[in-house]
């Protein structure tokens, strides 16, 4: 079954929802796909049937999204997209089976994912990221643990720590890789409301007796019976902290699966979260008909996302013959300043990668340690693809989404090149694992269009 649309939007987070609503307001036939059961993306993620899940901003987004004249395909996994004469073919899988659509324009608003940095013990049960901890706290209303070490860098650090304390849990320590003064940048003051919220969080943590260690990182996590023992280093000090859960994250990276698959040009910029799809001032990529909005084009935060989404939709509308002027760019750029300043805080030093012990598993899917990967690099593998062929790194179920960045940095370190020079892996389909039966659907053998048989 293939329905056709003017605009397809991938992602119903703040950028995608705004893009879809805007597109339909110009009379464009619009469809939105999102894997989750409700709109909101990751930043406003909510499980509507759990009391207290989500927040007011997310609820407002879901309300507007639900009322707009758009075709909503929530709980749909888009597994493939291809570009043809008629525009874009989107192949998705919903609860009822395959659902495919074609669209003249495609707006990619797939957001960002956590940046994973391996350390000794990162693969133990009870160790997770900061974005993951946020999902547990805000969307699923469950504590990551009863006694948690919260570590890493960036705004999620204090959001998670506060969320745990507010939810009735204990934070054994906050381990902030950045020194205190790193937070005080001019762009941070562009959002006094968020600054005040951050101060309120720190106040709550202080009241709860949570120690905050600055300029330090988690060196290792070990299992001790049912508990975890965390070794924290920095500023010439070493400290061990007992807990049952560790939430550790170093910011977000754009989720560029789709834009890579479609062959758009990407660029590397640490202050935007690393590799991101390149867009012009109208949110256009260099692939005709393909637009990108939100964190996928650079991690600049939720405030800028709706502006980007609306600009992308207006560009698409213009391209499809509607008379629409371009506006909102100044507001978009202003809104991005705070988010970009936050992203700057999450950059990972080479030291952190260099310090990963050789016995640590870096590619969890395939069980590959740093030592194994380094041996292959020493043996001549100097590119992501080459290392992949030689060791299977990145060929597991996660498709390299968890390990690619740190492995690329390892290659860079060992071959004296920059992260940028190492590049990204090629985009491949399916975009996420999908059950063969589910996408194949029913068919009649005799109706299978078989090409000519092989020559004898």
């Amino acid at each position: 079954m293939t329905a056709s649309y003017d605009v397809a939007v991938l992602g119903a987070g703040p950028a995608g929802a705004a893009a879809a609503i805007e597109a339909s307001s110009h009379g464009l036939r619009t469809i939105v796909f999102d894997e989750q059961v409700a709109a909101g993306g990751q930043v406003y993620r909510a499980s509507p049937r759990i009391e207290g899940s989500g927040d007011a901003d997310g609820d407002r987004l879901r309300d507007a999204f639900g009322k707009a004249g758009i075709d909503r395909r929530l709980a749909h996994r888009v597994w493939h997209i291809e570009r043809g004469d008629k525009g874009f073919g989107v192949y998705a899988l919903g609860a009822d089976g395959p659902f495919n659509a074609t669209a003249k324009a495609l707006i990619v608003a797939t957001g960002a994912q956590e940046r994973y940095v391996p350390f000794d013990g990162w693969d133990l049960p009870g160790v997770m990221g900061l974005a993951s901890a946020t999902v547990l706290l805000k969307s699923q209303r469950v504590l990551p643990g009863k006694c948690v070490v919260v570590a890493g860098a960036g705004p999620l650090l204090y959001a998670v720590a506060h969320g745990i304390v507010a939810g009735g849990g204990r934070v054994a320590a906050v381990v902030d890789a950045q020194p205190r003064h790193a937070w005080w940048r001019p762009d941070v003051l562009s959002r006094p409301d968020l600054v005040l919220r951050g101060i309120a969080w720190l106040n709550a943590l202080w009241h709860a007796g949570v120690p905050i260690f600055r300029g330090r990182v988690v060196r290792s996590v070990m299992r001790e019976g049912e508990a975890l023992r965390v070794c924290v280093v920095g500023n010439g000090r070493v400290r061990e902290i007992a807990c049952d859960t560790v939430c550790c994250g170093f910011g977000l990276m754009p989720s560029t699966d789709v834009t890579r698959l479609l062959g758009a040009t990407h660029a590397y910029e640490p202050s935007l979260g690393g590799w991101h799809v390149v867009v012009d001032d109208d949110q256009r990529t260099d692939v005709r008909g393909l637009y990108a909005a939100g964190d996928v084009a650079g991690v600049v935060g939720a405030a800028a996302a709706p502006f980007q989404g609306r600009i992308a939709a207006r560009s698409a509308a213009r391209n499809l013959g509607r008379t629409v002027d371009s506006e909102g760019k100044r507001e978009r750029d202003r809104a991005a300043r705070f988010g970009r300043a936050m992203t700057r805080l999450t950059q990972v030093d080479d030291e952190v990668i260099a310090a990963i012990p050789t016995g640590v598993t870096m590619c969890v899917c395939e069980g590959l340690t740093r030592a194994t990967l380094e041996a292959a690099i020493d043996d001549g593998c100097t590119t992501i693809n080459d290392l992949k062929s030689a060791t299977r790194c990145g060929m597991g179920a996660c498709g390299g989404r968890v390990c690619e960045d740190s492995v690329a940095r390892l290659i860079a370190l060992k071959t004296s090149r920059t992260r940028e020079e190492i590049g990204q892996a090629t985009g491949r389909s399916p975009l996420r694992p999908v059950e063969l039966d589910a996408i194949a659907g029913d068919f009649d053998y005799d109706a299978l269009p078989m090409p000519a048989p092989a020559p004898l």
């Binding site: 597994w79 493939h80 291809e82 073919g89 192949y91 495919n100 043996d379 001549g380 593998c381 590119t383 693809n385 080459d386 992949k388 062929s389 030689a390 299977r392 060929m395 597991g396 179920a397 498709g399 090629t426 491949r428 389909s429 399916p430 694992p433 999908v434 059950e435 063969l436 039966d437 996408i439 194949a440 659907g441 068919f443 053998y445 005799d446 299978l448 269009p449 078989m450 090409p451 048989p453 092989a454 020559p455 004898l456």
Partner: protein, 369 residues
């Protein structure tokens, strides 16, 4: 700049095995590779090493090539699992019986089995099988390891390998510019797979090579249900399950792309047909999750026979490509072409490239375009 007896362009199974034989014969050899060893078809194919899918006229070559893979063994993940070819209706049965008889006559130890016999050995197979053949010699290798393996063989044989060195210019005599450096070699072998035509064009030779964009798919590891490799009477399905439970699904379903612009793209419609056929033949594949699909380029000429021999109109230049079933056959035909280059009589006939109306003069080439 230094003098080599032979410059080989392309470090896939063709170029590498030819280079190894030439080295054995005493030549000083350099292999120039645009990417890394085995980055082309040799490293991205489905890994099938099956005699049943070989052309009758190439069976003698396949038997020899197959032996080379068996000796490579664990280094390349070689598994001799046996293989079945299945037919699901009368038309396919007729095709199967006719073709397999001819292949057996050509030397492949193929037997016919009843559907009941097949399902007794492989319970995971479809209950709609109408006819089947079996070859105990069939198996598969882990094609992703080809590059690493070839790199090691070349290093151990003291063959110079220059990776990340795309050839940008070739002058007769020969002076070959690759990766910013120019080397001199008395002889040249172009074994560039899907890139061969553009390489030959540097010498004003037009080879009417076309390229297929074959789709391969891999599923998530899981419980093992299938032990042998599976093929289809029409050749349109190859299916095997690796020891960790991943299925590898191929059969030459076409994606889209061109070697000049990079890797090809998978097309959903052909991919889905490939997957449906796989599930029909082996129902247990249904619950496996598809992890990744990709394409690889396979060069061919209109008669589907190899180009293996002297490059028309250019003394001391040779070409080796367009070998259908090249993964199995490469280790046989590469050395045969090297024998030709060494001035020896190859033990099996080669396939004269001149037959495909190759043009060796710029004026004629211009007129032809």
């Amino acid at each position: 700049m230094s003098g080599y007896d032979l410059a080989v362009v392309g470090a896939g199974i063709m170029g590498a095995t030819a280079a190894l034989r030439a080295r054995e014969g005493g030549m000083r050899v350099v292999v120039l590779e645009r990417d890394v060893a085995g980055a082309g078809a040799s490293g991205v194919n489905a890994g099938t090493l099956s005699l049943q899918i070989k052309r009758v006229g190439l069976m003698a070559y396949a038997l020899i090539g197959h032996e080379w893979w068996r000796r490579a063994g664990d280094a390349i993940g070689f598994k001799q699992t046996g293989g079945y070819t299945l037919a699901f209706n009368q038309r396919e049965q007729a095709m199967l019986e006719d073709r397999m008889r001819q292949k057996r006559a050509a030397g492949a130890p193929i037997e016919f089995l009843t559907p009941r016999e097949v399902r007794a050995r492989e319970p995971a197979l479809s209950n709609r099988i109408v006819a089947a053949s079996y070859c105990a010699e069939d198996g598969f290798a882990d094609s992703t390891r080809t590059g690493t393996y070839l790199r090691r063989l070349l290093r151990e044989a003291d063959v110079e390998l220059r990776e990340h060195s795309p050839v940008s210019a070739i002058e007769r005599g020969f002076r070959v510019t690759a990766g910013g450096e120019t080397i001199e070699a008395k002889r040249l072998l172009i074994a560039g797979g899907a890139w061969t035509a553009s390489l030959a064009a540097m010498l004003d030779v037009t080879l009417p090579i076309r390229v297929r964009t074959n789709t391969v798919t891999v599923t998530e590891p899981g419980p093992v249900h299938l032990h042998a490799g599976i093929g289809h009477a029409t050749g349109l399905l190859t299916l095997k399950q690796k020891p960790n439970g991943s299925y590898l699904i191929g059969g030459g379903w076409q994606g889209v792309g061109s070697p000049a612009t990079g890797r090809g793209r998978v097309l959903a419609e052909t991919l889905l047909q490939n997957l449906r056929l796989a599930r029909f033949a082996v129902p247990s594949v249904a619950t496996a999750r598809v992890l990744r699909s990709w394409t690889g380029y396979e060069a061919f000429v209109a008669d589907y026979w190899p180009l293996a021999g002297a490059l028309p109109g250019v003394p001391n230049a040779f070409v080796l490509t367009c070998v259908r079933g090249g993964y199995t056959i490469g280790p046989c035909i590469g050395p045969l072409v090297a024998d030709l280059i060494l001035g020896r009589e190859p033990a099996l006939p080669l396939f004269d490239p001149a037959r495909v109306n190759a043009i060796a003069s710029p004026a004629l080439a211009a007129a032809g375009r």
